[in-house]
């Protein structure tokens, strides 16, 4: 009897408990539930955050527009953004981007200084130039321009794929225009970001 009752109260896939989404929404978790593969019942907070920020219907539409093999990454990135927004309601993920951009800028300056030191060292000792060529600093400079190039790309998609990144960067070297002006100028609202006690969470 207990087993029958348990079977009746769980999802119609009698061996699985309802996914976190259906538990949260208090509905029956049907076979083919779009959320079930990505929101296991052991991680209720993941869906709670996503639901709070994006809403279940918006997430359903987003996932429905994607191919099945893309959905897991999409859900994970949505969960990441939702958690970032819950922690930092003002800046969300943008706070992390700002923090990382400043790190890149700082490291780039250190790299340029190290390059200059190496040149001075080598030529002050009147030694032959090192066999290893000096690394140019420009390809990694100005992250925000690259960010804008990526965002301005019409191709979009698949930033984890380095080949796509290289192709996008090559294709977008001559395309610095974004269709819609961005609200942020560079450097990134630095004063407001540092003065914001709520938004200073920086990297996630």
């Amino acid at each position: 009897m207990q087993q029958k009752q348990q079977g009746a109260s769980s999802s119609s896939t009698s061996y699985n408990s309802p996914c976190a989404a259906c538990k949260f929404l208090r509905r029956k978790c049907m076979p083919g539930c779009i959320f079930a593969p990505y929101f296991p019942p052991e991680e209720p907070q993941k869906f709670a955050n996503v639901h709070k920020i994006f809403g279940a219907s918006n997430v359903t539409k987003l996932l429905s527009d994607l191919l099945p093999h893309q959905r897991e990454d999409a859900v994970n990135s949505l969960a990441y953004e939702a958690e970032a927004r819950v922690r930092d309601p003002v800046y969300g993920c943008v706070g992390a981007i700002s923090f990382l951009q400043r790190q890149v800028d700082r490291l780039q300056k250190e790299l340029d200084a190290a390059n200059a030191d190496l040149i001075r060292f080598v030529y002050s000792d009147q030694m032959a130039p090192p066999v290893v060529p000096l690394q140019p600093s420009t390809p990694h400079a100005v992250v925000p321009r690259q960010v804008r190039n990526i965002i301005g790309s019409e191709s979009g998609g698949g930033y984890y794929n380095n080949n796509n990144n290289n192709n996008n960067n090559n294709n977008n070297n001559n395309n610095n225009q974004t269709p819609i002006p961005f609200p942020y100028s560079l450097p990134w609202n630095y004063q407001n970001y540092n003065n914001n006690p709520r938004g200073g969470s920086g990297g996630i």
Binding site: I53, F54, G55, N58, L62, L66, Q70, D73, A74, S77, L78, Y80, E81, R85, P89, V90, Y91, G92, C93, V94, G95, I97, L100, Q101, Q103, V104, L107, Q108, L111, A114, N115, D117, L118, F121, V122, D125, M127, P130, V132, L134, Q135, H140, Q146, V147, I150, I151, S153, G156, G157, G158, Y159, Y160, N165, I180, F182, P183, Y184, N196, R198, G199
Partner: protein, 148 residues
């Protein structure tokens, strides 16, 4: 009620009251700004997020929501998390380059010091020989003088 509706109320086809939460941040001259945010978050979620914040933080929140929504529309799989990934990769690349150059400097510095030491030793040996006429190995190989 505003004589011109904000972009949000125009999109939602409703009256724009004077207390509209969206109107300061979604002006009517930029319709896509609200369209993107509405598509990803939904109007009620955006309204809740803005209402929960003090007024002086709402403009930045609206800007960041627009930025994230735009990134998500351009890249439906990764959104602005893709940009974070790229930045992490760039940080890693620059750190590797920096470590390489610092190692190069250290190696060249060591090599230079070794050459300087060798030059100093060859200078001392002829001096000793010249001064004494015969090679004076004693002082040179007297290790007690090495630690003066």
């Amino acid at each position: 009620m505003n004589s011109t509706r904000c972009a949000a109320c125009k999109h939602l086809r409703r009256r724009c009251p004077s207390t509209c939460i969206f109107s300061p941040y979604f002006p009517p001259n930029n319709p896509p700004r609200f369209q993107y945010v509405h598509k990803i978050y939904g109007a009620s979620n955006v309204g809740k997020i803005l209402k929960d914040l003090p007024e002086n933080y709402r403009a930045e929140a609206a800007n960041s929501l627009y930025y994230e929504a735009y990134c998500r529309i351009k890249d439906p799989v990764y959104g602005c998390v893709g940009i974070i990934t790229i930045l992490h990769q760039q940080i890693h690349n620059v750190q590797c380059q920096l470590a390489g150059i610092q190692a190069e400097i250290a190696a060249l510095s060591t090599q230079s010091q070794n050459e300087d030491n060798q030059n100093q030793q060859t200078e001392i040996a002829p001096t000793l020989i010249e001064q004494n006429g015969v090679p004076n190995y004693t002082s040179f190989y007297d290790i007690s003088t090495w630690f003066d």
